[in-house]
Symmetry: C2
Subunit: 426 residues, 2 copies
Amino acid sequence: MAETQKDSSLFVKKVSRRNMLKTAGAGGIGVLVGASGLGGILSITKASETEQVDNTVPFYGKHQAGITTEVQNHLYFASLNVTTENKQDLVQLFKDWTAAAEKMTKGEPLAESASNAYIPPKDTGEATGLSASNLTITFGVGPTLFVKDGKDRFGLQAKQPAELQGLPKFPLDALEDAWSGGDICIQACADDLQVAFHAVRNLVRIARGKAVIHWAQTGFQRSKQADAKKETPRNLFGFKDGTINPDVKKDSDMNQQVWVQQGDGPDWLAGGSYMVVRRIQMYIEVWDRTTLSEQEKTFGRHRDSGAPLGMKQELDTADYKAKDSNGQPIIPKDSHMALSHGDGTQSILRRAYSYESGMDPQTGSFDAGLLFICFQRRPSKQFIPIQNRLAQSDKLNEYIIHRGSALFACLPGTKQGSYIGETLLS
Amino acid sequence: MAETQKDSSLFVKKVSRRNMLKTAGAGGIGVLVGASGLGGILSITKASETEQVDNTVPFYGKHQAGITTEVQNHLYFASLNVTTENKQDLVQLFKDWTAAAEKMTKGEPLAESASNAYIPPKDTGEATGLSASNLTITFGVGPTLFVKDGKDRFGLQAKQPAELQGLPKFPLDALEDAWSGGDICIQACADDLQVAFHAVRNLVRIARGKAVIHWAQTGFQRSKQADAKKETPRNLFGFKDGTINPDVKKDSDMNQQVWVQQGDGPDWLAGGSYMVVRRIQMYIEVWDRTTLSEQEKTFGRHRDSGAPLGMKQELDTADYKAKDSNGQPIIPKDSHMALSHGDGTQSILRRAYSYESGMDPQTGSFDAGLLFICFQRRPSKQFIPIQNRLAQSDKLNEYIIHRGSALFACLPGTKQGSYIGETLLS
């Protein structure tokens, strides 16, 4: 590779774009690029564009996508209530959803259009011409799908996991029914909001007569395209959020902390995960009148660098025992970080999005904040104890309020020929 | 260029990425790329990434940006009511907004952070590390800034343009105060929603004690990044929207149709434009149960191609006189396209975004649709006659409802040392 290549077109064809960049980094390379070779370089540029256009995340797999998948730019989250009383309808719904989700996550329409002008189109069309945009669709079931008002709705009561109960009421909760609960959830994430919207809208359309929307909320992150530096995203209080998250690339950590294991509870959920959703309104105007010092003590981190207080770099280990010259802990005990950390034994996989819903008519302020989403193997040992600590004494509670809450069991993944929910419903 | 270049590093430095691609397209080129030359090629890739990161639209200019600017992915629109009764406060507000908007559209924070930990940060921080993302910020003033409840609030009554009155009530309007009117509007558009949110949030923060949000709505388009084909975007009914728009690159057309001219009315608005905003809810579920044929007759276009009915290509000229074998017009007279077109003498510059706001609690359906925005030189001769026709007989009215409405005079552009609104307020 350190010599001039005569057959440049072969050279270009042999190395991938990634390899070429890596190789070139070594320096001292001379390459004779002939006519087709320059075409090869052009195709490098085009491949890079194609990579953006053809971004797909496989729908089938041992686990559902959208849990350990790298966070996309946009979220469309919908909570649905089931209206049918017929279990066979429910089975058909999940079969239809599986087929539709497979197509949409590939960036394909649900049906070729215009086959018959005298029926409603099978695909609603607004994503036509758009790429898959890394769309993931993740389905979960809530406690009320099993038992509602004391009724075993679909003969599933015996299958309800002990972990899948309504979350306890935490201190300071100000939950509204309009933002809480639901029999089924659909989490659609994509780098293009129009693609995520299209997915949920078509899944809801397919559910006609069987389920209806209970509540829905979009969420956003800073755009990956705009943020070439791949920094940790900042929440609407301007702080880096999600610095300490388990490593989704370590299967052992995921099996320990995120994926329900055989023997944990009903085996139909093995390979699935529990998803907590909290709609947390942030009092932006109040926060914006707070001093930087107070803001940093509230989170326990420096705002600009994201470093734990007293440290320099975002990923520096927090020293919860360090004291300042007055003998006070540098990271306050009631800071969000210290309380979230606790004794370090509980961990959750956070996958939150910021949300905004215009003006809050009750306060005249922004209705904006965090659609907090986390995944875990056992809520009783992970989210619930963490949130109990936070709800009792988190300094951040002066600036936030929990308006919505839901818990779902995200179904295990499925494979071609099977359907999402089969282990529960068959 | 058709010969092998010996000094490849010179070659690479001389041609820009665009030129290189163009040249290479001619084919038959051989280039010897030496060590530094390959570095040159690498820097091409890097430049392409940098281009994405450094996307800025100048804030200063003869006209405000965000009107003839290419549509960005996201919109954050806010309507504000002025709470101060002091004109000098209003002047200061626009001065402060001008300085802030200039910085933010450059992708700069409003102030270097952490200069003083014992005051609130001057920038709220959530856009730190993000690029300008083509942010544009466009300010307008509503009729109620001049006269409200019969009161000449700031001594501006004599300056109120005849064209800047509340829009007439159109048939079928179902307007809600919560989505209508406002003394001032801020339209922030960016390819990253977090950047647009940051802009409005900080401008509202700066306005504290002088103005408050009356209503706010985000909007989205299909992502430009995901849509390499640059097709006309589709609305939430799956149809291409905005095909026939005046050409923003033709100054003569813009002066004729969009920019207020000297002598049109009060000269303080020359170089500005009138902005109509309509929050149009779309009955998605009803639409989705309608046949393709009915959908196409409603718009007057084929869904897949976007072509006028009876034509093949999106940009084919519509033939409003063509008849089918039954002697009926191929493009129905009550179709949205035919009525919008009218006799072809009225034109508006549309710059609409889709919106979604979760579930509509009144109907249990999606609260989603179009935040219709258009710009024009004279509403009385452009939007108003068009909307009068549409409101009376548009076939689309079965599927949509106008919930919000506002009219603003978008101020002329300004230059360094001056401020937005100076021609009105000084």
